[in-house]
Amino acid sequence: MEKIIIVGAGPAGISAAIYAARGNMDPLVLNNGIGALEKAEKIENYYGLDRPLSGRELYERGLAQARALGVRILDAQVLGVGGFDTFEVRTTEGTLEAESVILATGGKRSTPPIPGVKEFEGRGVSYCAVCDAFFYRGKEVAVLGNSDFALHEAEELVNLASGVTIYTDGLEPHFSREHPIAVNTMKIQAIEGDSRVSGIRLQSDVTALEDGTPQESVMPADGVFVAVGVAGSSEIARQMGAELTEKGHIKVDEKMATTIPGLFAAGDCTGGLLQVSKAVYEGSQAGISASQYVRRRGNA
């Protein structure tokens, strides 16, 4: 079992790793790529930079710095986190166990701007397959997404639902392995229903009617599970049952502790200033707090 698993390898995750490593906790960092820093062409406002640095360069320096301290970095995408006393981190590279987890995957993604998603929340739209699969026994369900995260959610549903289809909403599917689940890549126009979800209205861009309007079709679905992109910190926290703020960020205290013992969060996923400096501070604090938590647990 790992002592501390850090999800994310940006400024928050790597800062957490540095402090945890110096606290002798031998942390494991799960790295799923660069994140928001990719978009930062030049960073000029961070302490000590006498010349601007690109976001990518900063990210790579961070990885190199952590490696130089002996931190282990695993390239993997997190699909979900479960467990009660200890944590079970499900990743594309297998399931890992840890005493403490720090979420530092960067900012939350907004709900997909598909009409009906927000409106039907709680009436057929769900964000947690493991929680809600039960209600769709023998029913037809849709999973929105195009990556392993969506595949993982679909697989939670497949044994209960009568049919599961992954809808990529016009995006290319990116699954890291073969699977038997149906995939529909057409663009989605809306989630439809009356008092609850009844189907997905698709817009086919290949077949247009004679007057030029794109042809539409409605696929029946009793439930729609949202798993767009990769599982971000907020999605993971929500599925675990950590409290979120009204804006959908992870709620943390001054120690970067979430409302779940042993689970910490740092960086953009906690909201506030979306700056490297803030991520570094929070990551450092989370690294220290998680180390203290693991030490206390060992003594208990």
Partner: protein, 100 residues
Amino acid sequence: MELVLTAENFEKEVLQSEKPVLVDFWATWCGPCMRQGPIVEELAKEGYAVGKVNVDEQMALAQKYQVMNIPTLLVFKDGKEAQRLVGLSSKDTLKKAMDL
């Protein structure tokens, strides 16, 4: 103490209650529900009327109230659903919903 609600006592304990009643739809296998449990327990200790529906045992109640996600928390006032909160809700949010 929170009441254990069933198809048999729901009418009397919730729909005919003079006080607003918070109803927590939950299951043992749902992580967020297990975090929600202690929060509604605190509300019950503070004197709010709180009931819990285990959806595994009371599927018919879940269906009747169109509960399709758990945790779902419903506030009943005068025999009617007055508020619906889906997903883990904080104590403050629940108190506000009850006090409305």
